[in-house]
Symmetry: C2
Subunit: 98 residues, 2 copies
């Protein structure tokens, strides 16, 4: 999964707020939209970007589409950050995973 997509997705404050909501519980697109003042289509746009980045998963249940967090992509980002942050001295395997 491309790191750039993940970071771009997380760079927007509305999308980070959506992620914070989904950390608490899965929600439908409409429930998510109700938490914001911007329009439903704008929220749909943000959900799509989060989905493309692999940060969330969607699943239709009847009329509703439920969104939930997919933390594995964030874990990947954490690994990248830890690698950049880490001081010298690791094994060859630990270096340059990117």
């Amino acid at each position: 999964m491309a790191l750039g997509l993940t970071l771009k997705a997380l760079a927007d404050p509305t999308r980070r707020d959506i992620i914070k909501l989904l950390k608490e519980k899965d929600m439908t697109a409409g429930e998510i939209a109700d938490c914001f003042t911007i329009s439903k289509p704008s929220i749909s746009h943000h959900l799509n970007i989060l989905k493309q980045a692999g940060l969330i998963i969607d699943e239709r249940q009847g009329q509703n589409i439920y969104y939930s967090l997919n933390t594995s992509v964030m874990e990947e980002l954490i690994r990248w950050l830890m690698n950049v942050t880490r001081k010298e001295g690791g094994s060859a395997d630990e270096r340059n995973p990117d």
Copy 2:
């Protein structure tokens, strides 16, 4: 330090490449620019964004300006990500640091 600035700064591939270079060793603006095909002013622009985000530190030494990594901001981002990633069950202190 604002999470948004950090994430926006990291969302650009050129800036991530600069960070990877600086992980290896401190470099001058010119040395950094020599590693890319884009113009020096563009690199200067990227360095400024990284600096504003607190991801790098600059220090003039004579004619040169040396840039170095500041990992503390990245550690802050790691903490945010780990919090979002973490499943329920932590102490009240661990929840919602944002």
